[in-house]
């Protein structure tokens, strides 16, 4: 089953605008990761934020994590047409003894128009 929901399900913006996607999850986590998927192909890891972190940056990406609300957001600044893709959040559980299976959200389809 899916861990949580992503919001919005679809987002259409103009090139140069910022895109914000939100993710909610249900259980305690070790970390939360964001992935991009182009046209049903493989997933590309974008950024990982650990449960004791509140904000992280990587290039044009900014991720926030609020463990009290069990939510995260991904901000893509100055979007480009090449950012058009589906974006998924995925959580790794807080477990002992190893094992770091990911539980994915439902995804946000981002379309960046010229």
């Amino acid at each position: 089953s899916q861990q949580g929901e992503e919001d919005p399900q679809a987002l259409s913006i103009q090139e140069g605008e910022n895109a914000t996607m939100n993710c909610s999850y249900k259980t305690s986590i070790n970390n939360l990761q964001w992935y991009r998927q182009n046209s049903g192909r493989g997933l590309v890891h974008l950024i990982l934020i650990r449960s004791n972190e509140r904000e992280k940056h990587s290039g044009r990406l900014r991720v926030t994590l609020d463990t009290s609300k069990k939510s995260s957001s991904l901000l893509i600044t100055a979007s480009r047409a090449a950012d058009t893709a589906s974006y998924f959040c995925a959580t790794a559980p807080r477990v002992t003894g190893g094992g770091n299976k990911l539980t994915f959200g439902t995804g946000t389809q981002l379309k960046v128009e010229l």
Binding site: Q2, R41, G42, V44, R50, F88, N100, F104
Partner: protein, 113 residues
């Protein structure tokens, strides 16, 4: 540095048949996980292999089985295929004890007719 390699890229099978999908992990990685992604959905965890053993399993029937070889490569086997098994099957590799994120392959698109 080669990433994760999956084969074949596309496959069409008939209901009731069996299929084997293959995955070579990224160099330096020792853990392989398999995911099923139905159209329009997020990936669902099938199972994870480490040290040639299944370490974790998702909510998938026994028709789904796997194997990991000494060189860390892995196979996913699905028996008695159903129409509902049609999906993109993704392999992801990682290094145990780290949380740097997974490296995914491009997937195998399985169509069951």
């Amino acid at each position: 540095d080669a990433g994760v390699t999956q084969s074949p890229t596309h496959l069409i099978k008939t209901r009731g048949q069996q299929v084997t999908l293959r995955c070579s992990p990224k160099s330096g990685h020792d853990t392989v996980s398999w995911y099923q992604q139905a159209l329009g959905q997020g990936p669902q965890f099938i199972f994870q292999y480490y040290e040639e053993e299944e370490r974790q399993r998702g909510n998938f029937p026994d028709r789904f089985s796997g194997h990991q070889f000494p060189n860390y490569s892995s196979e996913l086997n699905v028996n008695a295929l159903l129409l509902g098994d049609s999906a993109l099957y993704l392999c992801a590799s990682s290094l145990v004890g780290t949380d740097y994120g997974y490296t995914f392959g491009s997937g195998t698109r399985l169509t069951v007719v």
